[in-house]
């Protein structure tokens, strides 16, 4: 068949010359939309396929953890803050216990720090893998989900073997990781060190994760449809990202090599050799790809940490009833979603006077009204998914 090139060009370049009188419409996306990772409501004012004003409505998941923390003791609070970002529960605990240790002036044993670091990076891998899985699913590709979740299950099983919980490990204690319990009347003392074979299994699992990441890259990075839907969509310039307080992989995708693991010293990251992957354009595709590269760096950190893990105690000397001396401090850490910080004010009691939680997702979704202005309705899902937020982390 001979195609009339001129005609084709003519049709594609033609536009409707008559101004259509379209009415603007308010479209509610959520609160229980499958792409919102929880209960987020977006009130979008759309004109046809184009949304010109999108306002997120948050608060459906608000559980009042900041207020609850004021009437709990320090060991009890780790239970609550597990549930802030449930996709990476382990990583949430770290800044809080480090903040309390800072006020107490405690020196955490080296082995405990290494265990914290290994498990934090495993939490990061599992969190990023779920993003690797769910983001293509939101764009309509179901296969990457199974590739990523299979490996995530392996990582979570290892986390469960050490901590006893898949999602809510509650493994960190002030002054170290979980101490021994027992040794009362039954003389049964259970030491909560790493179970035998953990290091070998982790090394094996990390190799499998690398393979899966390779497969995922082949599967998604060569896919025409995914590239068309993500390249150049939802571009986030550096200055806007900085002014909204966007952090973590979303900021790095815009090209800023800012990683709190290099800046702060809450865990001994300076001992390990790793890079900070950055994107170029700050579009949806870069945000996906930066997280993929970050999994590789996390695997690198874990492999080095396994080789160098020292032996020794797991717990510093801590009194049974922990009273944190008067003072205030702010400790921030690089969570899988971005910067997570705890502003801890203590007046010398068993519980904090005030605990302000700065969670990454809250700042990351504050960009939504800016970034969703004037985009197409299908792109709302693509952009929102690429920001990788968890509603528990938004609302606390």
């Amino acid at each position: 068949m001979v195609v009339d090139r001129d005609l084709v060009r003519h049709l594609s370049e033609s536009s409707v010359s008559v101004e259509l009188q379209t009415e603007e419409m308010t479209l509610n996306i959520g609160p229980q939309h499958p792409s919102t990772h929880g209960v987020l409501r977006l009130v979008a004012r759309v004109d046809g396929e184009r949304a010109f004003d999108v306002q997120p409505v948050i608060g459906y998941m608000h559980r009042g953890y900041e207020k609850l923390s004021e009437v709990r003791t320090y060991p009890q609070i780790t239970t609550l803050i597990n549930r802030i970002d449930w996709v990476a529960g382990y990583a949430n605990e770290i800044p809080f216990v480090v903040a309390a240790e800072k006020l107490l002036g405690l020196e955490v044993p080296e082995r405990a720090q290494y265990i914290r670091l290994i498990l934090t990076e495993m939490a990061r891998i599992s969190s990023h893998l779920i993003f690797m899985a769910s983001y293509p699913l939101e764009l309509g590709a179901a296969t990457p989900l199974f590739f990523a979740l299979r490996e995530r299950e392996r990582v979570l099983d290892l986390l469960e073997g050490v901590t006893g919980g898949r999602f809510h490990p509650n493994f960190n204690r002030i002054g170290g990781v979980k101490p021994a319990y027992g040794s009362g009347s039954s003389t049964r003392k259970v030491i909560q060190d790493l179970p035998a074979g953990f290091l070998a299994e982790t090394r094996e699992a990390m190799d499998r994760v690398l393979e899966a990441v390779e497969e995922l890259e082949l599967l998604v990075a060569d896919n025409e449809i995914i590239l068309a839907r993500t390249k150049g969509i939802g571009v986030l310039p550096v200055d806007v990202a900085a002014s909204y307080g966007v952090s973590g992989p979303n900021l790095r995708a815009s090209g800023v090599p800012f990683d709190l693991r290099k800046v702060e010293d809450y865990l001994p990251y300076h001992l390990f050799d790793f890079e900070i992957p950055t994107g170029e354009n700050g579009d949806c595709w870069d945000r996906w790809y930066v997280r993929l590269l970050e999994i590789r760096q996390s695997v690198r950190i874990i492999q080095q940490a396994i080789d160098g893990i020292p032996s020794g105690p797991l717990q510093a000397k801590v009194p049974k009833i922990i009273k944190v001396p008067k003072g205030e401090t702010y400790v921030r850490a690089e969570n899988p979603k971005g910067e997570m910080g705890y502003y801890l004010v203590s007046n010398g009691n068993q519980g904090p006077y005030r605990l302000k939680i700065r969670s990454a997702s809250f700042s990351n979704i504050s960009i939504l009204p800016w970034i969703l202005e004037g985009v197409l309705v299908p792109d709302i899902i693509a952009i929102m998914g690429s920001l990788d937020f968890v509603l528990g982390d938004v609302d606390r």
Binding site: T73, Q76, T79, T163, G164, G184, V190, D193, P195, A196
Partner: protein, 152 residues
């Protein structure tokens, strides 16, 4: 495309005929998963060891442990000896509908009366039935596994 289709068919056929070897998932009600020994499934109570000190109930973040006890006087072993007083449990309930599975009660117990068991099959139709009384908690004690071996 033919290659992709071949992989699909090959994987499907081999999973159908050799599920034991190639199946990635567990057919739950028929096949049971073995949880890790440290899994926090359910809390077991050793009634003999408990001295009604209430430490677990006070340290619970959402106060889901209900304890009542009384003092029992034991007659002295020899005439003229002291009367022994022993705390005895009347009630030890854990409301698993409220429990956050943090394990603080197991950790603070100074007399080793509480243990974690990885059992997980105790769902109920009614919420009230999630309140396990002391006899039911005692039954869980049989399922407590030996401690896992440690790395180095």
């Amino acid at each position: 495309m033919a290659k992709g289709l071949w992989v699909t068919i090959y994987t499907m056929v081999r999973t159908i005929f050799r599920p034991g070897k190639y199946l990635a998932t567990i057919n739950y009600p028929l096949v049971k998963e073995t949880p890790v020994p440290r899994a926090r499934g359910v809390i077991a109570l050793d009634q003999e060891a408990c001295t009604v000190c209430m430490l677990c109930a006070r340290n619970c973040p959402d106060w889901c442990i209900y304890i009542e006890g009384h003092k029992e006087e034991k007659p002295p072993d020899k005439p003229g000896g002291r009367v022994k007083v022993r705390n005895t449990l009347d009630r030890f309930d854990i409301d698993y509908a409220l429990c956050m599975y943090c394990g603080i009660c197991v950790e603070v117990c100074p007399f080793d009366a509480l243990f974690w068991s990885p059992e997980y099959e105790y769902s109920e139709v009614k919420m009230g039935a999630m309140l396990h009384d002391m006899d039911r908690l005692q039954d869980w004690l049989e399922t407590v596994p030996p401690d896992p071996e440690l790395e180095k």
